[in-house]
Amino acid sequence: MSILLIAEHDNSELKADTLKAADAASQIGGDIHILVAGSDCMSVAQSAQKVAGVTKVLVVDNACYEHALAENMSALVVSLAADYSHIMAPATTTGKNYMPRVAALLDVEQVSDIIAVESSDTFKRPIYAGNAIATVQSEYAKKVITVRTAAFDKADLSGNAELVNIEAAASTDLSTFVSHELTKSERPELTAANVVISGGRGMQNGDNFKLLDGIADKLGAAIGASRAAVDAGFVPNDMQVGQTGKIVAPDLYIAVGISGAIQHLAGMKDSKVIVAINKDPEAPIFQVADYGLEADLFEVLPQLEAAL
């Protein structure tokens, strides 16, 4: 068996998602190669060399991979596929974009968002917003898999893999990058943070999210939101934690003014410790919280900031 794991990066840093997907890959077993496709991405490749269990890092440094457009990424991965039994990527918005395209070009059904490896061909994955867990077996010669990174631990950086430069595959101009607008924040990314504090509809408006800032600063936390808060226009969608947003599993998750709809729970219920602050004692969030505080959030948030 041999596994091709496609690295998630921003051309300068290897993302922790890749380390977590590498943990899933090593549970499958066999030779693991990491593909780093990007532009001026040598520092990423050098980090990838250190990922434990990886024997080879394939690096392709070409402008056509700078923004990881699905059309070019999938053509590249398919050109390398012959040598591998498993093709894996973290289930980030980048991986979710190109991997099904890879799978279709290989005429294989993809296994999305795995949360456990049962054997080299059998995996567990959540369905129905995490209300059920399916165990699925792929009988395809090639397994195309995306990994829900919150379900795995980071691989160590104790390795020393061989670095191999490879050629770019054919690229297309059917799709071109125009611009991006990245949220600038001193805070950790939601999916990588050890502590996450999220606000829901109970926050009442976008301005009130500032009440979470001081607490997040003290805890080194990322700030998230429920879908209700996003739908109401309080905050942008990239803050959304839930089935249709980001899936997080930090050491500490603090839910403020969030009722605990199924779709939100699907995004955070694997957190180690959950705290819920809500003035409604019947809110379903209390049923999954380790510590519940029935209180008006506008009263207790300043108190919490002061107490930390």
Partner: protein, 250 residues
């Protein structure tokens, strides 16, 4: 410009899915069904393109038993012009669905195909990307803004950490994210009108597509339950417990 919108009939958004006692699947008997929420956003976007004079015709398609005609009629009531049901009683995976949709694309030659980014039952997030691969079209997934002009579509995508805008040559595939639009409700006159709009039925088995799967569902289980913890009385109490009991803050 012709726009094709594939839609899926799924468990209603507000209904909690329950696993069957024999762990074979989720129990959908007597459960309220509805159009997948992301598909509703796709229909809305197509109808808006028509209202702006950019799209000339909106065709909706759904794959399943006769029951999915209900969701097709809903889409017609929301403003789609015609519908196609691809009849099958098989529970198809994303790849097989994409292959059937490929046949529809070849037949009706849309310049834009808009799909939901994922269905809330299988949560695969695959069909749009796979259809793009099979038809060799560019893709703009997880769209929060769509602008069609000069033979191209600019798609602003919701990505981890922000937004990305790509420009795609038409024909192209777009998949919808939450903030793209807020779907309208169908008015009663439009619901009545929808009953007279054309709905063609095709049979999946006659479309020359291999619908066999090599992805077997071995079992479906309830997720591990989290047990409710304790209620604390005050912020001071909470911070003390997080420090000394849970040891998650210093």
């Amino acid at each position: 410009m012709k726009v094709l919108v594939p839609i899926k009939r799924v468990i209603d958004y507000n209904v909690k899915a329950r696993v069957k006692a024999d762990n074979s699947d989720v129990d959908l008997a007597n459960v309220k069904m509805a159009m997948n929420p992301f598909c509703e956003i796709a229909v809305e976007e197509a109808v808006r393109l028509k209202e702006k004079g950019i799209a000339t015709e909106v065709v909706v398609v759904s794959i399943g038993t006769k029951a999915c005609q209900e969701q097709l009629r809903t889409a017609l009531a929301l403003g789609a012009d015609s519908a196609i049901q691809i009849e099958t009683d098989l529970n198809l995976g994303s790849l097989q669905v994409a292959k059937l949709l490929q046949k529809v694309v070849e037949e009706i030659q849309p310049e834009l195909v808009i799909l939901g980014k994922q269905s809330i039952d299988s949560d695969n997030n695959q069909t749009g990307q796979m259809l793009a691969a099979l038809t060799n079209m560019p893709q703009g997934t997880f769209a929060s803004e769509v602008n069609v002009a000069d033979g191209k579509v600019a798609v602003t995508r919701e990505i981890d950490g922000g937004l990305q805008t790509v420009s795609l040559s038409l024909p192209a595939i777009v998949t919808t994210d939450l903030r793209l639009n807020e779907p309208r409700y169908a008015s009663l006159p439009n619901i009545m009108k929808a009953k007279r709009k054309p709905l063609e039925v095709k049979v999946a088995a006659d479309m020359g597509v291999d619908t066999t799967t090599k992805l077997n569902v071995l079992k479906v289980e309830e997720p591990a339950k989290r047990v409710a913890g304790v209620m604390v009385e005050s912020v001071i109490d909470l911070v003390e417990k997080l420090k000394n009991e849970a040891k998650v803050i210093a």
